[in-house]
């Protein structure tokens, strides 16, 4: 039962990561992404998926999809019907699934975050509806595969499991909210394992939307630079296999890391702009720390939401200063969006994986293209690759609509 009046909350379980999968503009898989994050490599290129000649911005973190998709229980016919976002989700999930060593199960919840699911199919549906209104060819398939629940069901069909599917659409915080909700399910004892993550593919509607708001960079995405002029969109997916520590130990699984805490908050200031004082961001970081039972002094690295827009980065800098207090000066902060772009619903998940990589491999991911730090930053901005032994990392994700979410991860040793 999802809920029973007689339900008693179990004692809190520790939640560990036993599988991680990722695909971004850096490529597919842990190795190539870790190398990209570690070096602060910039993976932007001219948009080739749709016409951007009439847009202000011309580049994005486009993913080069592999020629073949992994062998699963999905039929070739089914695979042909999947759009980019669904394919990226499947690729990331397959890596996480394989790494975790999980077997199919009848009670495996899936919690995913996305903002636009299979939007390119929705665009195709609309184009055909307008241009050839009497033709219904492929329209039903487009509708089915456009929807986020179909993309989640693909995972259940591919790997042979069942369980409740929860899809959180909290704008750019969706991926972090999804991982946070999965963490809560495990902590409460509502599940022993949860497959979770976030994904989004580039689409013309979303690209045009961000361009219309004039928040896409027309130069270079430079988070926390005083001369920053906007974000660069990216695409991709990241999936984590989460399980309770007891479950992971019982089956002798390799543990990659631990999720210690999750916090969230709502900023009611404006639909697309954060409050200049970062009130909700402070609340989100503080809530995550309370759950994790750590203070700012125990955070060795902060992965900022750091989009590169003037408003976000200033507000987030103010929030980090307020939250970290006297510890801000020694807190390393960076934004990996300078390399792979803003993955929207996939951002929180991909950046959680970046933190996991940094914790496991002992380095700090730099912010690319950063020349003149934003004056509001009282913390250390990581500008060059460097080694560092980290115990705890905090990752921020803030979205349109004032959705704020924070995850805290710990190195497993």
């Amino acid at each position: 039962m999802l809920f029973a009046a007689s339900h008693q909350a179990d004692s809190a379980s520790r939640v560990v990561i036993t599988g991680a999968g990722i695909i971004t503009a850096y490529g597919l898989g842990w190795k190539v992404n870790a190398a990209g994050f570690r070096a602060g490599r910039v993976a932007f290129r001219p948009v080739s998926l749709f016409d951007v000649s009439r847009q202000r911005a011309k580049v994005a973190g486009e993913v080069e999809l592999p020629g073949t998709l992994p062998q699963t229980a999905l039929s070739p016919r089914h695979l042909r019907r999947m759009e980019r976002g669904a394919k990226m989700l499947l690729l990331a999930a397959e890596e996480a699934w394989r790494q975790s060593g999980w077997a199919p199960s009848e009670n495996l919840p899936v919690v995913l975050g996305t903002t636009s699911a299979g939007m390119s199919l929705g665009e195709d549906f609309y184009r055909q509806a307008i241009q050839s209104p009497d033709s219904q060819r492929r329209q039903a398939t487009r509708i089915l595969h456009y929807q986020a629940q179909r993309q989640a069901l693909n995972l259940a069909d591919a790997f042979g499991f069942a369980g409740p599917i929860t899809i959180i659409a909290n704008a750019c915080a969706s991926g972090a909210n999804a991982i946070g909700h999965a963490w809560e399910l495990l902590r409460r004892g509502r599940a022993q394992r949860v497959l979770t993550g976030g994904y989004d593919a580039l689409s013309q509607l979303v690209f045009s939307g961000f361009d219309s708001l004039q928040i896409l960079s027309t130069t270079q995405c430079r988070p926390f630079d005083a001369d920053r002029d906007g974000l660069t969109l990216g695409e991709g997916a990241a999936v984590l296999a989460l399980e309770s520590l007891e479950h992971a130990r019982r089956r002798g699984a390799e543990i990659l890391g631990e999720i210690l805490g999750y916090g969230a908050g709502t900023d009611g200031h404006h639909l697309t702009q954060p409050h200049p004082d970062g009130e909700a961001a402070v609340a989100s970081m503080a809530a995550a720390c309370r759950q994790a039972r750590v203070g700012p002094e125990q955070i060795d690295y902060l992965n900022a939401h750091g989009t590169g827009t003037p408003l976000n980065d200033h507000s987030e800098a103010v929030a980090i200063n307020r939250w970290a207090g006297q510890h801000a000066a020694s807190l390393p902060v960076s934004s990996v969006k300078s390399g792979i772009g803003h993955l929207l619903g996939g951002a929180g998940a991909a950046e959680a994986v970046a933190c996991l990589m940094a914790l496991r491999e002992g380095w700090l991911p730099p912010t690319a293209n950063l020349r003149t730090p934003e004056p509001a930053c009282a913390f250390e901005l990581v500008r060059r690759p460097r080694e560092a032994l980290l115990q705890c990392a905090l990752s921020n994700s803030f979205g349109f609509g004032g959705a704020n979410a924070t995850l805290i991860l710990r190195r497993w040793s």
Binding site: A117, P133, L153, G163, R188, L271
Partner: protein, 323 residues
């Protein structure tokens, strides 16, 4: 609620209206929401003035569900969790924005795009209620509303919120109506919102209680929609005498078949809200629950079961009881 009760009491389908689709000579048959007269006070709020109908419906339903409790949260003393559920979301502004983009992206309106984001209704509502408690916008087929109820119950039991609003909201557009038409030409799409306000009960409290939400039974390659509907029913305890069933049947034979089969032996009273109001997707699942709770609150039944066999995701059911 008065108009909703009147429509259900009358038991007659709300009249259909024609909705024209560009390029089609024939009309789509839909049940759009009736514009409220007078204009609701909350639409004067700056964020809601330009908001899409999906947000306006959500706020209207939420405020009615909250009733006298709204000031408790507005003053900031208590934490109100929000869970807003939708299948189509803001399809109206999305279609308009995409149309502008395809014509010339350089002049696509920045006023439309933010409203297309799926969490816009939750964000507007949170701003209106001055709540900084986290919210979730859940997407999925209509069954997602019942998942939202279970999630709200967890938030309350965990102490993450002092009260929770769960809202199902959808808006009408020819794009959504023609998509539904592709799957079953007897579906009459409708729009609107429904909301339930949940709070933790004290042992001495009387009223309507959320008793159970079943597992979500997926429609997969290995499990048919019909089987999932049967499993959702089997999850529930045997019905009490005179228990009400609020099913999701809508008078579209092909779409109804799996749910009708799963519940064909139900001998108690039955209410099919969608036969009267139409296929409101996540909003319709909310209407089913609102109808169930309202019937229990009026002492007409001791308990009520709500069945939602979704379009393309899962089957799920919930049980409410009066104490």
């Amino acid at each position: 609620m008065p108009a909703f009760r009147d429509a259900l009491a009358a038991g007659r389908p709300v009249p259909e209206k024609d909705l024209m689709r560009p390029g089609w000579k024939r009309a789509l048959h839909v049940r759009p929401a009736a514009p409220p007269v007078p204009r609701p006070f909350f639409l004067a709020q700056p964020r809601l003035r330009r908001a899409s109908p999906v947000s306006q419906y959500a706020v209207a339903a939420a405020l009615e569900a909250l009733g006298d409790a709204a000031p408790l949260y507005k003053k900031g003393g208590l934490r109100l969790g929000l869970i807003v559920c939708a299948m189509c979301g803001c399809v109206n502004y999305s279609r308009r924005f995409l149309d502008e983009t395809l014509k010339d992206p350089a002049v696509a309106s920045p006023l439309l795009f933010p409203e297309t984001v799926l969490n816009a209704p939750a964000s507007h509502l949170a701003a209106f209620l001055h709540t900084s408690t986290p919210y979730y916008s859940l997407v999925g087929d209509p069954s997602v509303f019942l998942q939202g109820l279970a999630m709200a119950a967890d938030w309350l039991l965990d102490g993450q919120a002092d009260g929770c609003l769960v809202i199902g909201t959808e808006e009408m557009d020819w794009l959504a109506a023609s998509a539904a038409w592709l799957f079953d030409r007897n579906i009459i799409l409708s729009e609107g919102a429904g909301a339930l306000y949940l709070r933790l009960a004290a042992p001495q409290d009387h009223g309507v209680f959320l008793h159970a939400v079943t597992d979500a039974h997926l429609f997969t390659q290995r499990q048919s929609r019909a089987r999932a509907a049967q499993l959702a029913r089997a999850d529930l305890a045997p019905a009490q005498p005179d228990e009400l069933l609020c099913d999701g049947l809508q008078g579209a034979r092909r779409t109804d078949l799996d749910e009708a089969s799963a519940w064909n032996e139900w001998t108690g009273p039955r209410l099919s809200v969608k036969r009267i109001l139409g296929e409101g997707l996540a909003a319709a699942a909310a209407w089913q629950c609102v109808a169930a709770v309202d019937s229990l609150a009026a002492n007409r039944f001791p308990a009520a079961t709500v069945s939602v066999v979704g379009c393309n995701q899962q089957a799920i059911a919930a049980q409410f009881q009066r104490r």
